[in-house]
């Protein structure tokens, strides 16, 4: 048994707090969480039942926290965790869980199964049992500052491009600005129009904002792989930069897990509260709209539906702003049957999209989203997460659906009323 594995088991043991202990005590193996998990509903494989993904942790809990388990261990009736346990479960812990949190909403005894899985990942990653894709992403996030290898130079090049296209200047390292904006690498790489939209909206609303040259990356691979040391390091960079610039707020971009990382996990990772507040871009836009600082010229008459990014809604608590905003720019907004905090995941959250090994399973589990979209009878899906957007577009392509995906912030920027008259009138 390797030293690394022992460290992993020790780490797993450390993760068992009162919550997890009460969760395991309460579980009666009713299996209802399976019905909430798209990996189970779309494959019918009972191994994908959420609570089953926690068997290794449960075994350890039983040996450390229950009378019977301690007794059994002392008498040699139960074996300690083996490398095989981790090897067999790695796929369940990383490939078949997007940390979407749906199971945590339905558990009759109220277990936050998603929380448990994210804690289980701490032990697994420490023991070296994590998918290569996530390992690489975390490595790059630590070394380069972005899981996708986006350097400051690249960001500056993209910003230059944005400045040129919008004719606006993007403030960098502006001391004392109100808001410091973060991006996800995905936005820099695949959806620079998000950055452009932000620049235009903030200009129209007169928001005092800046980007930090020291921390522009909002995502946190440390959270996804389950390594709190790495996660703390990544969050710490943002905190240091924001506090150096003396901003009042840090804006989390559309990206889902970036928000939970910086808003909810961050202070606990670095061990102290921030000296600034964290606000999600959708919350801010909604505020600006309410304050009358931005307004829209017309609405799209195209029927639209909204895909809720799990981490923003169910795990983040931002539920209403996106709906108010979307209603502001869309005539005909149709909700999916399960929406808001009970939405179905796109299938690519929690690091699954960065894990090539999971591609086949992910494609299969997209069927849930396909049916959901088809039920609405709408051809335009709006969302607010670069990763969800990619997953949706992949799935739509694979299933040959006639559906288009749009980012909400871009949609808003498209309908933004600006003082300059050269704005495009949109269809």
């Amino acid at each position: 048994m390797s030293e690394q594995f022992d460290q992993g088991v020790a780490e797993l043991g450390k993760q068992i707090d009162a919550k997890i202990s009460s969760y395991f005590s309460s579980c009666v193996h009713c299996g209802l969480c399976a019905e909430a998990c798209l990996f189970y509903t779309e494959t019918g494989d009972p191994r994908y039942t959420p609570i089953y993904k926690l068997e290794p942790m449960k075994k350890l809990w039983r040996q450390q926290h229950t009378i019977r388990g301690k007794l059994a261990k002392a008498l040699g009736l139960s074996k300690p965790l083996q490398e095989k346990d981790f090897a067999d479960w790695e796929e369940l812990v990383y490939d078949s869980c997007t940390l979407c949190g749906r199971c945590s909403m339905v558990c009759p005894v109220g277990n936050d199964i998603t929380y448990m899985i994210s804690k289980e990942r701490e032990g697994f990653s420490r023991a070296g049992y994590a998918p290569e894709g996530l390992k690489g992403a975390t490595q790059r996030a630590l070394e380069i500052g972005s899981p996708m290898g986006v350097t400051l130079k690249t960001v500056m090049a993209t910003l230059a491009h944005v400045e040129k296209d919008t004719g606006l200047s993007v403030p960098v390292d502006q001391q004392g600005a109100d808001y410091m904006t973060l991006f996800s690498s995905m936005e820099v790489v695949n959806f620079p129009e998000y950055i452009e939209s932000i620049a235009r909206i903030f200009d129209a609303a007169g928001v005092s904002w800046t980007i930090s040259s020291k921390a522009f990356e909002a995502t946190n691979s440390g959270i996804q792989i389950g390594n709190s040391d790495n996660a703390a390091e990544i969050v710490g960079r943002v905190v240091t930069a924001a506090e150096e610039l003396g901003v009042k707020y840090v804006i989390s971009p559309e990206c889902g897990h970036a928000y939970t990382s910086i808003r909810w996990a961050g202070p606990n990772l670095i061990g102290r509260p921030y000296r600034f507040k964290v606000i999600h871009i959708l919350e801010l836009l909604e505020q600006l709209k309410q304050q009358g600082r931005i307004s829209f010229n017309g609405k799209t008459d195209e029927p639209v539906t909204f895909h809720d990014p799990c981490q923003i809604v169910r795990r983040g608590g931002v539920v209403q702003p996106q709906r108010d905003l979307l209603n502001g720019v869309a005539e005909n907004f149709i909700e999916m049957t399960d929406h808001g905090v009970m939405n179905w995941c796109c299938g690519g959250g929690g690091g699954v999209s960065a894990n090539e090994r999971a591609d086949e399973l992910r494609a299969k589990s997209f069927d849930r989203k396909r049916r959901q979209i088809e039920e609405t009878g709408v051809n335009t899906v709006v969302t607010a997460c670069a990763n969800c957007r990619m997953m949706l577009e992949d799935g739509i392509e694979e299933n040959e659906m006639e559906t288009t995906v749009i980012g909400l912030t871009e949609l808003i920027a498209d309908y933004l009323v600006t003082d300059t008259k050269d704005q495009p009138e949109v269809r």
Binding site: A137, M148, T154, A157, H161, D165, S185, E193, E397, D414
Partner: protein
């Protein structure tokens, strides 16, 4: 006719064009960055767009395969970004918006999407080459537009 030298004028000029003309100018825009992509589906989309006899079905088919090329070529979340491939991705995206029959592409302004995607492609190419020079694809596009307007 005044020459175009900024985005506002470019947008205005594009607004004057009908869908077929937009396809023609779009094809010109994409062609200027086509060297960044080696995907046959993208090149094919440009050919179809240039063919004024192309039927709606042909356009639609070309659009669909260009869209598949778009999805195929992009960098997945959390993967180490290869900027050359990313450049090709943006070319593919531009080609899809360009060849789409009227009303098929859901972008707020498909013709503008072509313009922007071509610029992003150039941007990615510069990043890939570690080239610090300014992306001048927009100037290039003004010229293309001027040429087009002058010849029609």
């Amino acid at each position: 006719m005044s020459t175009i030298d900024n985005d506002a004028d470019l947008r205005k000029a594009l607004k004057q064009l009908n869908h077929e003309q937009l396809r023609e100018t779009g094809a010109d825009f994409v062609a200027s960055v086509l060297h960044l992509s080696s995907d046959k589906r993208v090149a094919h989309a440009v050919d179809v767009a240039r063919n004024s006899d192309a039927s709606d079905d042909e356009l639609l088919a070309a659009y669909k395969s260009a869209r598949v090329a778009t999805v195929d070529s992009r960098t997945r979340c959390g993967a180490d970004c290869n900027w050359e491939e990313q450049a090709a991705h943006f070319v593919a995206r531009a080609s899809a918006a360009m060849v789409a029959p009227e009303g098929v592409c859901k972008a707020a302004d498909p013709s503008w999407q072509v313009v922007m995607s071509c610029r992003m492609a150039q941007n990615c190419a510069l990043i890939a080459a570690d080239d610090d020079s300014i992306n001048d694809e927009s100037e290039n596009q003004y010229c293309i537009m001027n040429d087009y307007l002058n010849s029609h």
